[in-house]
C-alpha cells in the first residue's frame, strides 16, 4: 500500500515543539515525527502514551527471581541434597547472589526483547526513510495525505510555524 506524506522539515527542536502544538490545534493529524535525538516533552505534545515497559520489566524481574529460587531450592534441596560444609541443604543466604543476577538477567533481556518486538525493530537489508536528514540534523514532521487534503493550506500552516521546507513524499508500506 502506498501512502503519501507531507513532510515539514524543521531546523530546531524548540520551533518543532511549538509547531506540533499549533498543527495539532489546527486539527491536523500528525502521522509521525522523526528527530535525530530524543526531545523532552515531545511525547506529551504528540499525545504519545507513557510506555508500559517498566511494568513489563518488573514482571520479567519477578519471573527471574522465581526461576532462580526454584532452580536452587529444587536442585540442592530436593533433587539431590548434599551436605556442603555442614550447612543446611537450602541455605538461602548463599542463594542471594545467583538470585540477584538472574533477576537482573531476566529484567534486562526480557525488557529489551519486548522493546525491539513492539517497536518492530529488526535487521533489514534496506531501510526506507522519509527524509534521510532526520537522523542527522533535521526534525521531520510527517502528515499523511489523502484526496481531500488541501496541500497549499497545509504547506502554509507548516511554513507559518517555522518549517524551513515542506516536501511531499510517497512511501510504500508493507
Amino acid at each position: 500500500m502506498t501512502k503519501r506524506f507531507a513532510l515539514g522539515i524543521f531546523d530546531d527542536e524548540d520551533v518543532l515543539m511549538h509547531a506540533i502544538e499549533n498543527v495539532r490545534a489546527a486539527g491536523v493529524k500528525i502521522h509521525e515525527v522523526f528527530t535525530p535525538f530524543p526531545i523532552h516533552g515531545i511525547d506529551d505534545a504528540l499525545g504519545i502514551q507513557r510506555s508500559r515497559l517498566p511494568i513489563a520489566a518488573f514482571f520479567y524481574g519477578m519471573c527471574g527471581l522465581a526461576f532462580a529460587l526454584w532452580l536452587q531450592i529444587y536442585m540442592l534441596g530436593f533433587d539431590w541434597p548434599m551436605i556442603i560444609g555442614g550447612k543446611p541443604h537450602i541455605a538461602l543466604p548463599a542463594f542471594i547472589p545467583v538470585s540477584f543476577e538472574l533477576t537482573v538477567f531476566f529484567t534486562c533481556h526480557g525488557m529489551v526483547i519486548t522493546f525491539y518486538t513492539i517497536s518492530k525493530l529488526y535487521p533489514r537489508w534496506r531501510t526506507p526513510v522519509l527524509d534521510v536528514r532526520s537522523t542527522d540534523d533535521k526534525f521531520v514532521m510527517a502528515i499523511e495525505l489523502n484526496d481531500k487534503t488541501d496541500l497549499n493550506n497545509l504547506s502554509k500552516l507548516l511554513r507559518e510555524n517555522g518549517a524551513s521546507e515542506v516536501n511531499e513524499k510517497e512511501m510504500t508500506k508493507n
Binding site: T35, P36, H40, L76, V104, F105, C108, H109, T135
Partner: protein, 486 residues
C-alpha cells in the same frame, strides 16, 4: 527545565551545530583507514598472535605450561581475570551510574567506555576458561546435571556465583551498548554511499527511523537498563571479591573485600578510560567533545576511588593487628617485608601516592601527566591483585610447602596477548562504529555554555525561537548555537 550556570565550562566546545556533530563522529567511520590506525592494528594483531600461540601451548600441553605449583595454585590467571573485570567496571559506571546522577558530561565518553567494558570482560573471561584446562567442557559451569548424570552444580560456591555474575554482566552490558548504538547506526546508514556500507549499517540499525514513539520507548529502556546495571556492576566485583573473601586463607578472609574491590575496580577502570580517551581524542580529532574538563572530572573520580583503596589497605593492616590472629598478622607482615616486598611497594606507590597528585590542579588539567598517571595506576592495580593472590598463597600454614612463584613465558604471553586482543577489538570498534554517542551529544549541545559562535539572529526561513515560557525543558536563555552557518 534546567539551569546551567554560566561559570560552568562548556560540555562541548567549538560552537558545534547538530550537523557538525554528525560530521565529526562519522568522519573516521566513512574515511579509508589511515596509516596510524593500520600501524596500531598491526601491533595489536601481533600481540593477538602471541595470545593465540600461548593458548595453543596451554591447551596442547596443559596447565603445566604455566608457572603454577602445588602451593600457588592461582597466580597470574586470576590476577589478570580480576584486573580485566575491574577495568570493565568504569564503562558501566559511566553509562549507568552517571546517567542516574544526571551527569551530562558522560554523553561524549560513554560509548567508548562501554565498548571498553565489553572488550575487557571478554579478555577477563579468557582466564578462568583457560584455567579449566579443557575449555571445550566450559558448559559444565552451568546448572546442567554433572556429565548429564544426577549431580547438580554447587550454588553455595562463589566460583559459581562468578559464572552467573560475569555472564549477566557481559550480556547486559552488550545489550545496553548495542541499544545505544542503534540510532547512531541509523545516522551512518542514511549517509552511507557504498552498497556494502548501506546494507551493513541497515542491518545493524535494525530499521531505526528516529520516530518520536521509538525515542520515547528508547529513553524508558535506557533508564531501566541504567537502573538495573547500577546494582549489577556493584554486585559483580563484590562476587569476584568473594572468590577470596569466603575462603579461610589469611589475607583473603576479610569482610572489607567487597567495597574495597569495587572501589579498586572503578579506580583502575577510570585509569583505562583515560588512557584510551587521551589517545582517541587526538587520533580522531575529537578534542571538542572529549575536552580537558572531561579529563579533569575523570581524574577526580580516579582520585576519590584511589583514596578509598588507600584507606582500605591501611584498614586491612590495622585489622590484622587488631584481630590478634597470628596467621593474619604474618600474612600482612609477609606482604610488606617478605620476598614479594617489591610487588607490595609497587602497589602502594602506584595506588596510594599517585592519585593524591591529582589534588594539584595543574596535574589534573595536564594531558601528558594524566596519561602517565593513568598507566601507573593500571600497573599498580595489577600489582594489587598479584599481591593479594600470590603473597597470600605462597606461604601457607605449613612452612615445608612455602615456595616462590615465577611466571613462565606462556603466562606472560597470555597476559600481553589479552592486551593484544583488547586493542584489536577496540581499534576495530573505533574504525567501524561511532566512538561518540551522536544522538546523546546532540541533546546536550544547547545546554553547553560556550564562547564559540552562538545564535546570531534570525535566519531566512526559521522564525525566531520562541522566548516565551519554556515548557519543553529548554531554557529560553540557553545560548543557541544552531545556525552559525547562516
Amino acid at each position: 527545565m534546567q539551569h546551567v550556570s554560566p561559570v560552568r565550562e562548556p560540555l562541548v566546545t567549538g560552537g558545534k551545530t547538530y550537523h557538525d556533530v554528525t560530521q565529526d563522529v562519522c568522519r573516521q567511520v566513512e574515511a579509508a583507514p589511515n596509516v596510524r590506525w593500520m600501524a596500531a592494528l598491526s601491533v595489536a594483531l601481533f600481540f593477538l598472535g602471541i595470545f593465540l600461540y600461548s593458548v595453543y601451548r596451554t591447551l596442547w600441553y596443559g596447565i603445566g605450561e604455566w608457572g603454577l605449583n602445588k602451593t600457588v595454585g592461582w597466580a597470574w590467571d586470576i590476577t589478570n581475570f580480576v584486573w580485566w573485570v575491574g577495568i570493565g567496571h568504569a564503562g558501566t559506571l559511566i553509562s549507568a551510574v552517571l546517567l542516574l546522577f544526571r551527569q551530562k558530561w558522560r554523553s561524549s565518553i560513554n560509548r567508548a567506555a562501554e565498548a571498553m567494558t565489553i572488550f575487557a570482560v571478554i579478555c577477563a573471561a579468557m582466564f578462568p576458561v583457560l584455567h579449566m584446562g579443557r575449555p571445550w567442557l566450559a558448559y559444565w559451569v552451568f546448572p546442567l546435571q554433572n556429565t548429564f548424570g544426577s549431580l547438580w552444580v554447587n550454588f553455595n560456591s562463589p566460583l559459581l556465583w562468578d559464572v552467573f555474575a560475569i555472564s549477566t554482566y557481559f550480556t547486559v552490558s552488550l545489550v545496553f551498548w548495542y541499544t545505544g548504538l542503534v540510532p547512531d547506526f541509523a545516522t551512518i546508514r542514511d549517509r552511507a554511499k557504498g552498497p556494502i556500507a548501506k546494507v551493513a549499517y541497515s542491518l545493524l540499525s535494525m530499521g531505526w527511523t528516529g520516530s518520536a514513539k521509538h525515542w520515547s520507548r528508547y529513553e524508558t529502556v535506557s533508564l531501566i537498563l541504567a537502573g538495573v546495571s547500577t546494582p549489577l556492576v556493584l554486585s559483580v566485583h563484590t562476587i569476584v571479591s568473594m572468590d577470596f573473601a569466603t575462603s579461610v586463607v589469611p589475607g583473603w578472609h576479610t569482610t572489607i573485600f567487597p567495597p574495597y574491590f569495587v572501589a579498586g575496580a572503578i579506580f583502575s577502570g577510570f585509569a583505562m578510560v583515560l588512557t584510551l580517551m587521551l589517545i582517541t581524542r587526538v587520533v580522531f580529532k575529537l578534542e571538542d567533545y572529549i575536552t580537558i574538563e572531561h579529563i579533569a572530572l575523570m581524574n577526580k573520580i580516579m582520585m576519590i576511588t584511589g583514596s578509598i583503596v588507600g584507606v582500605a589497605y591501611i584498614t586491612e593492616f590495622f585489622i590484622a593487628w587488631y584481630s590478634q590472629v597470628e596467621f593474619e598478622q604474618y600474612a600482612f607482615i609477609n606482604r610488606a617485608t617478605g620476598p614479594y616486598w617489591w610487588a607490595y611497594a609497587a602497589m602502594m606507590t602506584c595506588n596510594v601516592i599517585t592519585p593524591q597528585l591529582v589534588w594539584i590542579r595543574k596535574v589534573r588539567y595536564s594531558i601528558p601527566l594524566t596519561f602517565v598517571l593513568s598507566i601507573i595506576v593500571n600497573i599498580g592495580m595489577w600489582f594489587e591483585r598479584f599481591v593479594i593472590i600470590v603473597t597470600s598463597l605462597h606461604r601457607d600454614y605449613l612452612p615445608s610447602s612455602w615456595v616462590m612463584f615465577s611466571p613462565t613465558i606462556i603466562d606472560i604471553g597470555i597476559y600481553v596477548g589479552t592486551l593484544g586482543l583488547f586493542f584489536t577489538l577496540f581499534l576495530l570498534f573505533a574504525k567501524f562504529f561511532p566512538v561518540i554517542n551522536m544522538a546523546e551529544v546532540k541533546t546536550i549541545l544547547k545546554y553547553t555554555v560556550d564562547n564559540g559562535p552562538t545564535y546570531t539572529g534570525h535566519d531566512s526561513h526559521a522564525p525566531a525561537p520562541h522566548t516565551t515560557t519554556t515548557t519543553h525543558g529548554v531554557p529560553a536563555s540557553a545560548p543557541v548555537n544552531y545556525n552559525k552557518h547562516d
